[in-house]
Every structure is written in C-alpha cells, then in structure tokens.
Symmetry: C2
C-alpha cells in the first residue's frame, strides 16, 4: 500500500527545514504559517494546499519541486 | 510580480492533460475529481490541496514533481 502523501510531504518538509538548521518556530516565523499547523503538516496530518506549499518552498529557498523529490 | 501559483499550476495541469489527449471530462472520469472543480483549477482559481494534487499526478501517470516542472 502506497504511503499517505501527507506523511511523505511532512517528512520531506522536515528534512528540508533541518538542512537549513531551522526549528519549527523559525520556519513559522519566516513563513508566517502557524507553528501548530506546521507541526501537523510535518506529522502527516494536514492536507496542505498549493499556496502554503509555495510559501514554504519560497521560505526554504528551494524550487517547489524539491518538496516532491524522491516521491514515486 | 511573481505569477499566482494557482495560475502556474493550472496551466501545467492543462498541458499534461493535453499531452495525454484527454478532455477535462476524461480527466474527471479517470481521477474521480469533479469536472467543474478541475475547470477551476486549470483557470487558476482553485487552491488545490496535496491529496488532489497527488491523485491528479497518479491519474496522469506522471511523478508529482512533473506538475511543478518549469516553476521557479
């Protein structure tokens, strides 16, 4: 059974955040997205939408496709 | 000013659908996503969420990153 995309996305977001050496608080501060929501995204519990996906990619200074690297 | 991501995504979705030679009706039938919603996504009017993005990539048989090709 294929992994839930929310879990895959959450793991990838967490990876990219840690590469920058940022805490969730820092990513929340920089992106303007609530820390509690980001926590839910990273735990694979949120069905994040396009505009927030783009905001996170921009904040992390990666092309949006990077958030979907290593996916099927 | 950077293009609205919803417009960029909608254009890319339309491109990939046409590469397959599919109408919006066909993509709707194959994906189980309402045609009217797909029309709104392709017109750049919908803030589509992750699970639907993944369902469209799977239906179009492309890696999800393909929907974000040629983005910044």
């Amino acid at each position: 059974m294929q992994e839930d995309p929310r879990v895959t996305f959450g793991r990838r977001l967490s990876e990219l955040r840690k590469v920058k050496g940022w805490s969730q608080e820092k990513l929340s501060l920089e992106s303007g997205i609530a820390r509690s929501y980001l926590g839910g995204v990273e735990r694979g519990q949120r069905n994040i939408a396009l505009l927030n996906i783009c905001r996170l990619a921009e904040t992390l200074e990666v092309p949006i496709g990077e958030l979907f690297q290593h996916w099927r």
